[in-house]
C-alpha cells in the first residue's frame, strides 16, 4: 500500500511538475499578486462559489461536491495524523477521540452524503438535454463514477469496520454518530456473516477504497480534476480587471523583442498558461458566446483548451518541441479569432476568471503584426489610421450632422459644462446623426452648456484595438488625448459605448483623465435633478412598450444597466427585458471590429438577437449604441419586422416638454 501511495504521489507530483514546466515556457509578467484582492476573490469564487451559483443546479451540485470533498479530505487527514501520531508516540489515542471524534465523524457522514448527492446531480445534468450543461464526454462520466465509488467504498469500509469489531455495534454504541456507517454495520450484522469474514471483507473494501483514492490522486494532474488545485490558484493570482479590459502593449518592448502579440505558445504569459490549465470545461463561456450560438467556429473554451493542450504537448518534459503543431492555423484558425465580437460574455461567465477575450485579442495582434488581416477589415484599419474614421470619409464632413442646429464648438464655447463626443457613427452615419441631433435637443432643453470638438475629433481607436492593432489605437488615442488636454476638457458625454469605454477606461493610461458619462447616464441625471422636464402622459399610462437591448460595452463591460432603463421609464415607457439582458446581454454582432467584416459563417448574430427581443412584442427596441442601432435595424429589415429601432435619446426627445 505504501508503494502504491508513493507511486501515486510520484505520478501526481510528476504531472504537476510537467504542468509547471509548461507554464514556465511563458513570458514572466511583472505584475504583483494583490493579496487583499486575492483573499476577496478566493472567498467569493472558491468558498462561496458565487459564480457557479449563477446556474442553480450547478451551484447545488458543485457546492455539495466541493464542500463534501473538502471535509472528507480534511477528515482523511485527521485520521492519518491520528494513526501516525499514535504510532510514533506509542499511545492508544493521539488527539482524535471523545467529543471531537464524534463531531468529526458525524460531519464526515453528512458531507459524504452531500458529496454523493452532488455527484448524482452532476451526472443527471450531464445526461439531461439542457443547453446549459457542461461537456459530457466518457472521461467526465468516468471521473464522476470514480468519485462515487470512492465515496461508497469509504462508507462501506466504515460500516464493515464497525461491524467487524468484537461485540459489534453494541460494543461501540458511540459509533452511532457515524450514522451511515452505523446503519451499514447494522445491515451486515443482520445478515449474520461471521466476524472473520467481515474483517476480511473490510480489508478488501478498504484496499479498493485506497487503490481508487490513489488512482484519483495519480490522475489529478492529467484530467480536468486538476482544477481542484489550479482553479483556486488561478483565482488567487489572476490580475484583477474589468470585464473586457485589455492589456496594453509596450511599443518599446515590441521594438526590442520584435514580437507583437501571441504568435507562438511561448509568447503567452505564465499566468495565461496556468489559467488555461485551470479550465474546468464547464462550457459556460461557450454557452453564452454569440459567435458560437450562431454557428461560427469560435468557442472560447476550445481556444483555452487547445492552447493549454498545445503548451503541454510540447514541453521539454515530454520530449521534442519540434513535433508540436504550430499555434496559428494549425491549432487556432484565423476564422476562429476573427469570429469574436469582443462582447466579453465569456469573461463575465467564467467561474475561474480565465480571460478568453484578452487571449483572443493577443492572438489577433500577432495576425495583424504578420499582416494577416485582409479585405474589408484591413480597409477599415487603414481608414481609421489615415482618415480618422472607419469608413474613410473626409474629416471635412464630420460636422455635417449639425446642419441647421448651430452646435457650438470649443472655439465658440471655450469653457462648456461638458464636451459632447460625437463619435464617428454619430457624425457620419445618417441614422446615428439623428440620434446625435436628438441628444442635442435634450441638452439644449435641459440648459446644459456643451460644445463639440468638431473636426478635431477622430476615431477613439476602439475598433483598431479590438482588431489587434495597438499601433493605430495608440496613435489615435494619443492625438485625441492631446486635443482634449490642450482644450482643458474635464467632462465628456458620448452616445457611443465604444467611445465611452475608451475615453473612460483606456485613455487614463495615456494621460487623459476625464469624467466620462454615457448619454443615457446624463439623461438619467438630468431627469432626476429636474433639469430635464418631460411631458407627462395625460392619462398617466404607458407611452410605448420598449424592449431594451443592452450594449456590451455599456452594460457588461461598464456596469451601466439602470441609467438607460431609468431614462426610458422617465419617458413613460414600459421597459421589457429579454431573458438575455444586463450581465447576460447578447451582443448585436458588431463589436471587436466585426462591424467592418463580412459575416459569412453560420447564421447572423443580429438576427438571433432580434428574435430574442421581438418575442417580447414591444412597440420599439431601444438601443444605446450606434453599432447596435445598425445591427438591429438591419435585423428588423431582414425579418421584415414592423418594430421600430430607436435610441434611448430619441425616445426621450419625443417627450420633451
Amino acid at each position: 500500500m505504501y508503494t502504491l501511495f508513493f507511486a501515486a504521489a510520484i505520478a501526481c507530483g510528476y504531472g504537476f511538475w510537467a504542468r509547471w514546466q509548461a507554464w514556465s515556457r511563458g513570458r514572466p509578467d511583472s505584475k504583483r499578486v494583490d493579496l487583499n484582492g486575492s483573499a476577496q476573490r478566493l472567498w467569493q469564487q472558491v468558498i462561496v462559489q458565487r459564480k457557479i451559483w449563477s446556474v442553480s443546479t450547478a451551484g447545488w451540485s458543485h457546492s455539495a461536491i466541493f464542500w463534501g470533498f473538502v471535509v472528507l479530505f480534511v477528515g482523511t487527514c485527521i485520521v492519518a495524523l491520528e494513526d501516525y501520531g499514535a504510532w510514533i508516540l506509542g499511545v492508544e489515542h493521539f488527539f482524535f477521540f471523545g467529543t471531537f471524534y464524534l463531531v468529526v465523524s458525524c460531519a464526515l457522514e453528512v458531507f459524504g452524503l452531500a458529496f454523493i448527492g452532488g455527484l448524482a446531480l452532476a451526472a443527471a445534468r450531464r445526461a439531461g438535454n439542457s443547453t446549459q450543461r457542461p461537456l459530457a464526454r466518457p472521461i467526465d462520466q468516468a471521473v464522476l463514477w470514480l468519485l462515487f465509488v470512492i465515496a461508497m467504498t469509504g462508507f462501506f469500509t466504515e460500516g464493515l469496520r464497525i461491524a467487524g469489531v468484537e461485540g459489534g455495534r453494541s460494543a461501540t454504541s458511540f459509533e452511532a454518530w457515524s450514522f451511515v456507517g452505523w446503519a451499514l454495520a447494522g445491515l451486515v450484522e443482520r445478515s449474520g456473516i461471521e466476524t472473520g469474514v467481515i474483517r476480511g471483507t473490510h480489508l478488501t473494501v478498504w484496499m479498493i477504497h485506497m487503490v481508487l483514492s490513489m488512482g484519483f490522486v495519480a490522475a489529478l494532474p492529467y484530467c480536468k480534476l486538476r482544477h481542484i488545485f489550479l482553479a483556486p490558484l488561478q483565482i488567487a493570482i489572476t490580475q484583477p480587471r474589468r470585464v473586457g479590459q485589455l492589456e496594453g502593449v509596450s511599443m518599446e518592448e515590441v521594438e526590442e523583442t520584435g514580437t507583437y502579440g501571441v504568435g507562438k505558445i511561448d509568447d503567452l504569459t505564465r499566468r495565461q498558461l496556468l489559467s488555461f490549465d485551470a479550465c474546468t470545461e464547464c462550457a459556460r463561456c461557450q454557452n453564452v458566446c454569440p459567435a458560437h450560438a450562431t454557428g461560427k467556429p469560435l468557442s472560447p473554451m476550445r481556444v483555452v483548451l487547445d492552447l493549454g493542450r498545445l503548451a503541454n504537448r510540447s514541453t521539454p518534459a515530454n520530449g521534442s518541441t519540434d513535433s508540436a503543431p504550430g499555434l496559428h492555423g494549425e491549432t487556432i484558425s484565423a476564422e476562429v479569432l476573427w469570429s469574436c465580437t469582443s462582447c466579453a460574455a465569456c469573461v463575465e461567465e467564467c467561474p475561474v476568471s480565465i480571460d478568453q477575450l484578452g487571449t483572443i485579442v493577443d492572438l489577433r495582434r500577432s495576425l495583424v503584426g504578420e499582416g494577416e488581416i485582409r479585405g474589408s477589415a484591413q480597409a477599415a484599419l487603414r481608414s481609421i489610421g489615415a482618415a480618422g474614421n472607419p469608413w474613410g470619409l473626409p474629416q471635412d464632413e464630420r460636422m455635417d450632422w449639425t446642419e441647421g442646429l448651430d452646435v457650438p464648438t470649443l472655439e465658440s464655447e471655450p469653457d462648456p459644462d461638458i464636451v459632447l463626443w460625437v463619435g464617428c457613427a454619430g457624425s457620419f452615419d445618417r441614422r446615428s446623426q439623428k440620434v446625435t441631433r436628438a441628444l442635442v435637443r435634450i441638452l439644449r432643453h435641459a440648459g446644459v452648456r456643451f460644445a463639440v470638438l468638431g473636426k478635431k475629433e477622430r476615431c477613439t481607436g476602439d475598433p483598431a484595438r479590438r482588431m489587434g492593432d495597438e499601433f493605430t489605437f495608440s496613435e489615435l488615442a494619443s492625438a485625441n488625448v492631446e486635443t482634449l488636454n490642450a482644450n482643458r476638457v474635464r467632462r465628456i458625454v458620448t452616445a457611443c459605448p465604444h467611445c465611452f469605454n475608451g475615453l473612460k477606461n483606456e485613455y487614463p493610461e495615456l494621460g487623459g483623465e476625464y469624467k466620462v458619462v454615457h448619454h443615457t447616464q446624463l439623461i438619467d441625471e438630468l431627469t432626476k435633478s429636474g433639469a430635464l422636464n418631460l411631458k407627462p402622459l395625460s392619462d398617466g399610462g404607458v407611452s410605448k412598450k420598449v424592449a431594451y437591448h443592452d450594449a456590451c460595452y455599456l452594460g457588461r463591460q461598464n456596469g451601466v444597466f439602470d441609467a438607460p432603463r431609468e431614462a426610458l421609464k422617465a419617458s413613460d415607457a414600459e421597459v421589457l427585458d429579454p431573458a438575455q439582458s444586463r450581465e447576460r446581454g447578447f451582443c448585436c454582432g458588431a463589436g471587436g471590429g466585426r462591424m467592418w467584416m463580412e459575416e459569412d459563417l453560420g447564421t447572423r448574430i443580429n438576427e438571433e438577437r432580434w428574435k430574442q427581443l421581438s418575442v417580447l412584442q414591444p412597440d420599439a427596441v431601444a438601443v444605446a449604441c450606434p453599432f447596435c442601432m445598425t445591427m438591429m435595424t438591419d435585423a428588423a429589415g431582414a425579418q421584415e419586422s414592423e418594430i421600430e429601432v430607436l435610441d434611448v435619446a430619441e425616445i426621450v426627445a419625443e417627450r420633451l416638454a
Partner: protein, 329 residues
C-alpha cells in the same frame, strides 16, 4: 505633319473606334490635316469595309506576317514599322485594354510622348498639344501638355461623338504588307475566355443598376432590375442585405465590404442607402434613386430622386428606355 492616324487594333471594329475617329476629326480640324485609319490584324481588310464612309482619307489594312493573335509586343512592333517614315501629328486610338498596353510600349519603341484616356482636346499646334484628363479616381481634371511634333494619345470613347458613317463618301482601302519579325519569342497567346455574363463588370461599367431589399427578392423586383440593366447595357449590383439574403451572388455586392464603384450613372432601386453602401458608391458621377420611402438616406446623395413604388416605376422606365433607343437607331 498635320495628319492624324487612327489605330484600330485588333481589327475588330467596336463602338469605341467610331468615337476615336470622331476625336481624330476634331484634332484634324485644328491641324488642317487629314485622318487616316490603320486597321491591324488578321481580318483587317474585311474590317476596313465596316469603316467605309467614316471620312478617312485612306483606310490602311495590315495583317502582319506571323501574327495570328493579338499580343502587345507584336502589335506595337508592327505599328512602329508602319509609321516609320510617316509624319503624323497625332497617332490616336480609343482607350481599351489593348491600347492601354500597346501605346506606352509604342511610345518606348519610337521615343514619342504619350498620354492616355483623354476626355478633351484643349490646344493643338505644331510643337505642342494639350489634353484634358480625369485623375484621382475621376475626382479632378487636369491639363496634360505633350511637347514635340508627333504624339501618341488614347481617348475615352464615352467623351467623344462617334463618327457617323456616310456610305456615299468612300475611301480607298490600301492593303499594307508589313514584314519583319513581329511576334515576340517570349510571348505566347493561349486563349481568350469570353466573359460569362452579358453584362459589364461592376468596376468597369458606365452604368450600374443597384438593388436593395425593397426589391423584395428574386421573384419580384430583381428580374425588373435585371431587365432595366440589360436595356441600359448596365451592370447589376446590390446591397449587403440583398447579397446576405442570397438574392444575388457575393460578387454583386456594392459597398464598403464589397466593391467600391464610381460609374457615370448609378441607379439605386428600392435601396435605402445605409452608410456601408454609400461608402461604396458615393463617387458615382450621377445617382438616381427610386424608393417609396421619402426619408431614405439615399435621396440625400441622389442627383435625381423619384419617390415611387418601384414595381410601377421600373417597368415604365424600361419601356421609356427601350422606346428612346428604338427611336435613336
Amino acid at each position: 505633319m498635320n495628319d492624324v492616324l487612327v489605330i484600330v487594333a485588333p481589327a475588330v471594329v467596336k463602338k469605341g473606334d467610331f468615337a476615336a475617329i470622331g476625336f481624330a476629326q476634331q484634332a484634324a480640324e485644328r491641324t488642317g490635316g487629314a485622318v487616316d485609319v490603320l486597321l491591324l490584324g488578321p481580318n483587317a481588310s474585311a474590317a476596313a469595309e465596316r469603316l467605309q464612309g467614316c471620312g478617312a482619307r485612306t483606310l490602311y489594312a495590315a495583317s502582319p506576317v506571323g501574327v495570328e493573335n493579338y499580343t502587345a509586343e507584336a502589335y506595337a512592333a508592327s505599328i512602329a514599322v508602319f509609321f516609320d517614315g510617316r509624319e503624323d501629328r497625332l497617332i490616336v486610338a480609343a482607350t481599351s485594354s489593348q491600347t492601354r498596353e500597346v501605346f506606352p510600349r509604342l511610345a518606348a519603341l519610337t521615343d514619342r510622348p504619350v498620354t492616355s484616356d483623354v476626355v478633351a482636346i484643349e490646344e493643338l499646334d505644331e510643337s505642342s498639344v494639350s489634353f484634358t484628363r480625369a485623375v484621382f479616381v475621376g475626382n479632378l481634371l487636369c491639363t496634360e501638355t505633350l511637347e514635340g511634333s508627333s504624339a501618341l494619345v488614347t481617348c475615352r470613347p464615352s467623351e467623344f461623338e462617334p463618327v457617323e458613317l456616310v456610305p456615299s463618301v468612300s475611301a480607298p482601302i490600301e492593303t499594307v504588307e508589313l514584314s519583319g519579325e513581329f511576334a515576340h519569342a517570349g510571348k505566347r497567346y493561349v486563349s481568350l475566355e469570353q466573359a460569362a455574363s452579358e453584362r459589364p463588370d461592376l468596376k468597369e461599367a458606365d452604368i450600374i443598376v443597384s438593388v436593395g431589399r425593397g426589391t423584395k427578392g428574386p421573384d419580384e423586383g430583381i428580374p425588373l432590375a435585371e431587365e432595366l440593366a440589360d436595356a441600359l447595357g448596365a451592370a447589376l449590383g446590390g446591397t449587403r442585405a440583398v447579397v446576405d439574403a442570397g438574392w444575388l451572388p457575393n460578387e454583386f455586392q456594392v459597398g464598403q465590404t464589397g466593391k467600391i464603384v464610381a460609374p457615370k450613372l448609378y441607379i439605386a432601386i428600392g435601396l435605402s442607402g445605409a452608410i456601408q453602401h454609400l461608402a461604396g458608391m458615393r463617387n458615382a458621377k450621377n445617382i438616381v434613386a427610386i424608393n417609396k420611402d421619402q426619408d431614405a438616406p439615399i435621396f440625400e446623395v441622389a442627383d435625381l430622386g423619384l419617390i415611387a413604388d418601384l414595381f410601377q416605376a421600373v417597368p415604365e422606365l424600361i419601356a421609356a428606355v427601350r422606346s428612346f433607343q428604338n427611336a435613336s437607331t
